[in-house]
């Protein structure tokens, strides 16, 4: 660990821009990206943060383990299609799966706010139990803290996951090759819109349910099928756009996607139009992108579509050339003109008109 003065010098941007942490620092956009790169990666040198991936792969006595951790602070605690409990299991399971690991064990840490109804907590616990069973993981250890009323938001959950890696292969942005196909596992934006609609009391003709789901089984089948999976990434905060920009930056290749091929359900599109949001930036909790050689794209899609959680899988683009440092994602618009698909600065905020 460098001395404190060096640490301060190493991360001037987040500190000089904003003397206080903003909500936008947690929104999955440019601000969070900078905070991780300049604050945490600079501070925690050598902990694998430079891999810019959802889970770290660590060697243990000749085998490799995948390890990841995630905290869940969703409001409301319960929403159409899930709750904070199932989310806390699937989120961590999916982060493990994206490194190609078979998820095995989870720890769970609860930070509870004084006054939380026991009935609510029991529902969350039951939901975690069911989700763990569905994802084939065991919750093996935990921790509980209670904070004063007003110091929490009912319930925060942290889960840490351990997974095992079968083959000695690297699934990461560095493995991507020019010409690879970019696949997405289904329609985008349902989780973010479900949360926002519940939080803000917005109602639509039919309830939009979160897409939260475990993705380990579909990933396992992709690997078992012998497909040359180069890179996987689940689409959470910041949506497709943040994930693709991070991968473009880490791989050094231009990523080209076609808006006309990106699946977004009609009700989600309607909600986004109404709120002035772009579904490509809206959060998902059961969707991922996969990079495979172009020649294997159809086979990979067939494997994915055999799973209910990925039955809407489609190819949305291809990997372009080496950008020589100018990492970029380009998008062909619905009228066929090309533009940049940028990472958002902070949170997407609903527009005035």
């Amino acid at each position: 660990m460098p001395p404190v003065s060096d640490f301060t010098l190493a991360c001037p941007i987040p500190i000089s821009d904003y003397p206080h942490v903003l909500l936008a620092h947690g929104s999955g956009g440019r601000l969070m990206h900078d905070l991780i790169a300049r604050m945490f990666a600079a501070g925690f040198d050598g902990l694998g943060l430079d891999a810019a991936h959802d889970a770290a792969v660590v060697p243990v006595d000749g085998t490799r383990l995948a390890v990841t951790t995630d905290s869940f602070v969703v409001h409301p605690l319960q929403f159409p299609g899930g709750d904070i409990g199932s989310l806390a299991v699937y989120g961590t399971v999916n982060d493990l799966a994206m490194s190609g690991a078979q998820p095995r064990y989870l720890s769970v840490g609860f930070i509870l706010e004084e006054g939380l109804p026991m009935e609510t907590l029991w529902q969350i616990v039951c939901s975690m139990r069911d989700a763990a069973e569905r994802a084939g993981v065991h919750i093996v250890t935990g921790d509980t803290k209670v904070v004063d009323k007003g110091s929490g938001d009912g319930c925060f959950i942290n889960t840490t996951g351990l997974g095992t890696l079968a083959a000695d292969r690297t699934i990461a942005p560095g493995a991507i090759q020019p010409g690879d196909a970019i696949l997405v596992s289904g329609d985008l934006g349902r989780h973010g819109i479900a949360i926002m609609a519940t939080r803000e009391g917005l109602t639509f003709e039919s309830a939009i349910e979160s897409d939260a789901a475990p993705l380990h089984a579909v990933v396992r089948d992709l690997l078992d099928d012998g497909l040359d999976v180069r890179c996987l990434r689940d689409l959470t905060r910041g949506g497709l756009s943040s994930a693709l920009n991070e991968i473009a930056e880490a791989s050094g290749y231009e990523l080209q996607v076609d808006e006309r091929q990106i699946p977004v359900r009609e009700d989600v599109r309607g909600a986004c139009e109404m709120l002035g949001l772009d579904p490509l930036y809206v959060a998902n909790e059961g969707r991922f992108v996969a990079f495979v050689p172009a020649a294997q794209a159809e086979r990979a899609l067939a494997v994915m579509q055999a799973h209910p959680v990925a039955e809407g899988a489609r190819q949305i683009g291809t990997v372009g050339d080496d950008t020589e440092g100018d990492a970029v994602v380009t998008l062909t618009s619905s009228i066929g003109v090309e533009r940049i698909l940028d990472m958002l600065s902070g949170a997407q905020l609903p527009r005035i008109c």
């Binding site: 821009d17 003397p19 206080h20 903003l22 006309r260 009228i335 003109v337 533009r339 005035i352």
Partner: protein, 365 residues
């Protein structure tokens, strides 16, 4: 999705672009008024389908952009008070003031809330009589009726803890300021469809006649915008200068009469300062005398605040269609959405922000 898909159809868009190319015999410069239209043009790449002879310049119709810096500072001063619950539409929160933004006020404990309707703020005031609830009323004729309704309802309900910080502006006076300015290059306008849905089309007739300029009421989707460009170019080529409505599915010629009545009840026309442009007479709305008690500037004594803008920023020229964002030496270097120097970079609908987001690479090349 009905009313969206058919207006985002690539084949229809290209057909219109071909028609525009066929009727164009010389260069024309058109301005789209609304920031939503600018955003759509750059996002879909509509200008890239047009013949080289057609130049689209981007107008002043982004409410976040043209809200003066001192108004942001006033909002920040009010929102930081411990007795205030400050309500705003989301996109005003990250607009930097002279020293801070509303998101930072929130991070430091200020009660700053995003609402989806000004009526939500009235509801918050009714439920929390011990709090001073302030709504940041920003926008054009589009948002004015709902904001007028909020004040009207607060008045009807006898709420004394509700007030509005108002920065309302009007489109036709800004169009006139652009047309009357020496060096104006705008030859035709795509008028803002949603503004016209409220106000109707009649107030544009005198402008078209006085300045001999075609004005086509236009929507926001690619096919709408190309249709608007087509009608505008056709008028120019034929030597006509009329008001035409290319957005009839949303705009009746009389507009929304009950909404106009409510605006006239609650607001009065006043001079307003536009960020990047300056003071324009009769270009804004303030509370009518009968509703003056709901004016947050008066209530919190922040009306005297004045500030200086960056001398490097050319947003005034961009907002009047004289320059394009990449013409500015600070664009995407010293001026970015994270560190905006001025009006057109602060909002996602500002022309500079739209170019930065969708065209950064081409613009810098």
């Amino acid at each position: 999705m009905k009313y969206i898909d058919e207006y985002r159809d690539g084949a229809a868009a290209r057909r219109l672009a071909d028609q525009i190319a066929r009727i164009t015999t010389r260069p024309w410069t058109l301005m789209e008024i609304c920031g939503g239209q600018t955003h759509s043009i750059v996002r879909f790449g509509i200008d890239q389908l047009l013949p080289d002879a057609i130049t689209l310049v981007h107008g002043p119709g982004c409410p976040v952009c043209v809200t003066p810096l001192e108004m942001i500072d006033r909002a920040i001063a009010i929102a930081g008070r411990p007795d205030v619950t400050f309500c705003s539409f989301g996109d005003m929160l990250r607009v930097p003031g002279s020293h801070d933004d509303l998101l930072s006020v929130k991070a430091q404990g200020g009660d700053v809330r995003i609402v989806y309707s000004p009526l939500d703020a009235v509801q918050i005031a009714a439920k929390n009589p011990e709090r001073e609830v302030v709504f940041f009323a920003v926008g054009f004729e589009t948002t004015a009726p709902a904001n007028a309704m909020a004040v009207y309802q607060a008045h009807q309900r006898g709420l004394t803890n509700f007030s509005m910080l108002i920065s309302h502006v009007l489109v036709p006076p800004a169009m006139e300021a652009i047309l009357a300015a020496p060096g104006n290059r705008v030859q035709g306008f795509l008028a803002a469809g949603h503004v016209c849905a409220v106000m109707g089309v009649a107030e544009y007739e005198p402008l078209a006649e006085k300045y001999d300029v075609p004005i086509v009421v236009t929507g926001f989707e690619p096919v709408d915008l190309l249709g608007g460009v087509y009608l505008c170019v056709k008028q120019l080529e034929e030597g006509r200068a009329e008001v035409e409505n290319a957005y009839q599915r949303a705009v009746p010629s009389a507009g929304n009469v009950p909404a106009q009545d409510l605006m006239r009840e609650v607001f009065q026309v006043i001079p307003r300062k536009w960020r990047g442009i300056g003071q324009i007479p009769h270009s804004g709305l303030g509370l009518a005398p009968a509703y003056a008690a709901y004016d947050a500037e008066q209530r919190f004594g922040v009306d005297a605040l004045h500030v200086e803008e960056s001398p490097e920023c050319i947003s005034g020229l961009v907002l009047q269609g004289r320059k394009k964002p990449p013409d500015c030496p600070a664009f995407a270097t010293r001026c970015t959405p994270e560190h905006p120097l001025g009006a057109t970079m602060v909002s996602s609908e500002g022309a500079c922000a739209a170019y930065y987001r969708y065209r950064k690479r081409a613009a810098l090349a």
